[in-house]
């Protein structure tokens, strides 16, 4: 019988090495041996992703590696997440996420989504090429605390400004995150957003930092 620490280490290393099979095996073992799935997510999968973020920041990993690590993480999450009770200590929060109309790129969006998935948020993924009003309608329908939008092209990012205005008019408390290659801090400020990530990789780093903070909160 593997110890909890051994299994969590296997999950962590599997994510770092983008090896899906060991992650699948270890996730199943976590359940079979009665360990707490949320702990396995946070101290195994998310811990691995934190290292991936560090490797990205050190320019040892780039987006392809991060995407493969994310694939491995999702393999584990698919097994573990259904066994986390709704009131099992995860974060009770919701986010609406999507790529803005006119933009069919979704790598950054999907990496940020991963961060919310890991953290146990209810994620309302609108996909890509999302008409502007759909962000507003979905936020109102779900009463989500956060709306995250991405645009990979300068030619589409202007739509985000309109969405922010529409959402803030109806619900000024919603936090808006922007991301994407053309989005700079100045643009995010000009548009009235609450946070931004300038690229898929940057989104990963920011997201992983957020996961780290959540892990710290969990540990308290």
């Amino acid at each position: 019988m593997a110890t909890k620490e051994e299994l969590f280490e296997k999950l962590k290393q599997g994510v770092i090495d983008f090896e899906e099979e060991p992650v699948i095996e270890a996730s199943q073992q976590v359940l079979d041996e009665g360990y707490v799935p949320l702990e396995a997510i946070m101290d195994g999968l998310a811990a691995g992703m934190q290292v991936v973020g560090e490797l990205y920041e050190k320019n040892e990993y780039f987006v392809p590696e991060v995407l493969m690590c994310a694939d491995a993480l999702y393999k584990g999450l698919a097994i573990l997440r259904p066994h986390v009770p709704k009131d099992g200590g995860g974060v009770n929060a919701q986010v609406v996420i999507g790529s803005i109309q006119g933009d069919v790129h979704d790598i950054g969006k999907n990496l940020v989504k991963m961060m919310f998935d890991v953290a146990g948020w209810d994620v309302h993924d609108l996909g890509r090429d999302v008409p502007l009003e759909n962000f507003v309608e979905e936020q109102l329908r779900t009463d989500s605390e956060v709306v995250a939008m991405s645009a990979m092209m300068t030619t589409t990012m202007l739509g985000m400004k309109k969405v922010i205005k529409m959402i803030k008019e109806k619900n000024p408390d919603v936090a808006i995150m922007l991301g994407g290659a053309p989005v700079t801090k100045d643009v995010a400020n000009l548009f009235g957003a609450d946070g931004y990530a300038e690229s898929a990789g940057n989104a990963v780093v920011e997201g992983i930092k957020m996961i780290g903070r959540l892990r710290d909160m969990q540990a308290k």
């Binding site: 694939d71 006119g102 030619t155 589409t156």
Partner: protein, 359 residues
């Protein structure tokens, strides 16, 4: 000497011969809303309706704002559409939205196949047929203006026909297949570029925005991307420019090597590049363009004319050899800002730049 015409100015610029004043142009997407409004066109109609609309949207955009070149075409979906994907023109939208490929026919790398027959006939396939016709119209109707054509690089073009994340992961997981696909796209891009030049394009820009160092490692760039960019540029006539968006500081020397090894002329960066550092690395012989912010300066509601002028001066002070944007110009410019930017570009510094002298 009398003032040079735009075509004389741009031709001399690429030859690194002295020009009369700072060139103000681009080799990337450039269609401006005030121009198409004057023509009575709506945005979705300029892309595929006819070669005439495509040409006049480009001509009027250049003439109205005194740019030194027309650029044809405007969106990035032409080749993917010709290979069988359907595009969305957003005809119902009130906003300016460029065409996209909402769903790609190929979902896995193993499905991707570009045959020699497709390469040989792509310029006879709609919508590609419109581009050479539009270039010919521009040459006839606006002989004073050079025409810039452009092509996406093989990696980015691949991402227009299959989801980019598959290609990114494929670099590791399906190396051979990715290499094969990139070679096929390179062949296709060379043929298209040759056809655009044969139709009259005066210069051509190879744009590979999907390979910046915030996406791919410099090692992957060196091994997988650079040889193909060099081959493509080498397959075209001069003048030719290489542009990469995003983080390019770690790639600067490798990019310039692609340009010089292929007999190219200039290198173009977006706003994330440290131009003074690039100048130091490449020296005063390199024609360096790009870097000005296509949203903040000409478009942002909050940007005053004075701020746009200061931004333009800052771009010139970085040491560029021509004023050329960091990306596609966003169509919805503020006219007063863009006119002030053009005027500033021409008047701010009258002396030579690092690589180009003055008459």
């Amino acid at each position: 000497m009398a003032e040079l015409s735009p075509i004389e100015r741009v031709t001399r610029f690429f030859n690194r011969e002295p020009v009369d004043k700072m060139p103000f142009f681009t080799g990337m997407g450039m269609v401006l809303a005030p121009a198409i409004k004057k023509l009575g066109y709506n945005f979705p109609s300029i892309h595929r309706e006819s070669a005439e609309k495509l040409a006049w949207a480009g001509i009027e955009s250049a003439r109205m704002f005194n740019l030194d070149a027309i650029v044809i075409p405007f969106d990035m979906c032409w080749e993917s559409e010709a290979l069988g994907n359907k595009i969305s023109l957003y005809e119902e939208s009130e906003d300016i939205l460029y065409p996209t490929i909402p769903t790609k026919n190929w979902t896995e790398l193993d499905q991707v196949e570009i045959t020699q027959a497709q390469i040989d006939t792509i310029m006879d396939t709609f919508p590609m047929t419109l581009i050479p016709d539009a270039i010919k119209i521009c040459k006839k109707e606006a002989p004073e203006l050079p025409v810039g054509a452009w092509q996406l690089g093989p990696f980015t073009q691949c991402g227009q026909t299959i989801e980019l994340d598959k290609v990114l992961k494929g670099v590791f997981k399906q190396k051979e297949k990715v290499n094969e696909i990139l070679d096929s796209f390179s062949d296709l891009i060379i043929e298209i570029g040759k056809s655009l030049q044969a139709a009259g394009a005066d210069f051509i820009t190879l744009r590979e925005p999907g390979v910046a160092a915030d996406l791919l490692s410099p090692k992957t760039f060196k091994e997988v991307i650079a040889p193909r960019l060099t081959r493509i540029l080498g397959g075209w006539k001069s003048p030719k420019v290489l542009h990469i968006c995003g983080s390019t500081d770690p790639l600067t020397e490798m990019m310039w090597k692609c340009v010089t090894d292929s007999g190219g002329q200039a290198i173009s960066f977006d706003i994330k590049n440290n131009i003074p550092e690039s100048r130091k690395k490449l020296g005063n012989d390199a024609l360096i363009v790009g870097n000005y912010d296509v949203f903040a300066l000409p478009c942002a509601e909050e940007t005053t004319v004075e701020m746009a002028i200061e931004g333009m001066k800052a771009n010139i002070d970085l040491g560029v050899d021509a004023v050329w944007p960091g990306c596609d110009l966003w169509p919805d410019i503020k006219e007063e800002n863009f006119r002030a930017m053009e005027k500033t570009a021409r008047e701010y510094k009258v002396g030579p730049t690092a690589a180009v002298g003055r008459i």
